[in-house]
Symmetry: C2
Subunit: 198 residues, 2 copies
């Protein structure tokens, strides 16, 4: 048991923190797809089973490591259910619901950190691409060659909304009813996902 | 001469710095419109004529105080000349030209600072609203009641582009040809300026 070899007790807060630190490094350096639970466990000096025990799967570990306050796996079904042409509006609506809720403060902290810290920026990028954009683009069966650009464009609109509503606090955007922003930015996101962008 | 009273020599770097410090405070606290050269001069302990001598008008003082690397007064004519339906594309094109140029690094520094510092955020907001968005919305004769929201929406798309291309560096957005982003985001900006957003 490698956990014993390094002297870490499986149940201690130290062990949990060591796993999270190793996970942050692995996800930032190798990206979500290439990072493995096994390698993270080795780096943390624990057994992979312990990582699963604490965090479940790789998605959950990623979310814990990046301190992401929202769970796309729980939120995305509401975005993807329903007509294909409404995904953009539903994505903006759910996005605003999360950021307008109490967890939004954690989102602002994360965005601030990502802007000043290259490492957090990489984690945020990985999170957006693999946990949010990829499932949406998959669901819509978007041409794989176009996915990076289309996903990136969606990210520009969502990140810009977050910046103006919650960070820089442009009055008209910060004070707008969610429905107003959904009506304005929903079609933009929809066009970036499935419309003509050339 | 109040410059003499405070012991500051008109030609010294101290004087220039004192004016810029007073200007930053005035613009952040009162906003661009309410801040006056006279009040800034008083706060800096110099004669208003000296402020004009160093910096010219209020726009130039604002740009120097906020260290904005680009001059919208010089750039906007190229955006506004031409057909009304092309303003969105031309605004995105000029925006990317500025950020892709060597001065873009200063833009990134400014965005980083604005995200972590409320004071810089206010200055950036004032700059965007009064120096970029207002002239564009004026030129297009947009319904005054709709200007704050329309301007704010344009800001979400431009800020999001800057975030993804230059700060968080999403590959597909960071590596895209400017023309690709103009074709994708230009119509978005145009719709926010003059199209149906309800």
């Amino acid at each position: 048991m490698s956990a014993r070899r390094t002297g870490r007790r499986p149940g201690s807060p130290d062990t949990r923190e060591a796993i999270l630190a190793a996970a942050r490094e692995a996800f930032a350096e190798r990206g979500f797809d290439a990072a493995s639970i096994r390698a993270i466990a080795t780096a943390a000096g624990v057994d992979p089973a312990l990582v699963h025990h604490y965090f479940g799967g790789k998605e959950e570990l990623f979310r814990a490591a990046t301190a992401f306050p929202a769970d796309p796996g729980r939120l995305l079904p509401a975005v993807l259910a329903g007509d294909r042409d409404g995904v953009g509006e539903r994505l903006v609506r759910v996005f605003l619901e999360v950021w307008d809720s109490p967890v939004g403060a954690a989102g602002v902290a994360l965005l601030r950190s990502a802007v000043s810290n290259d490492w957090t920026a990489r984690l945020l990028r990985e999170f957006l691409v693999t946990q949010v954009l990829r499932p949406v683009l998959d669901h819509l069966a978007v041409d794989p060659a176009q996915r990076p650009l289309r996903g990136g464009l969606v990210a520009t609109q969502l990140a810009g909304l977050a910046m103006m509503r919650y960070v820089l606090r442009f009055d008209a955007v910060a004070d707008a009813e969610p429905a107003t922003l959904v009506a304005a930015a929903g079609p933009t996101v929809q066009r970036y996902l499935t419309g003509d962008i050339t």
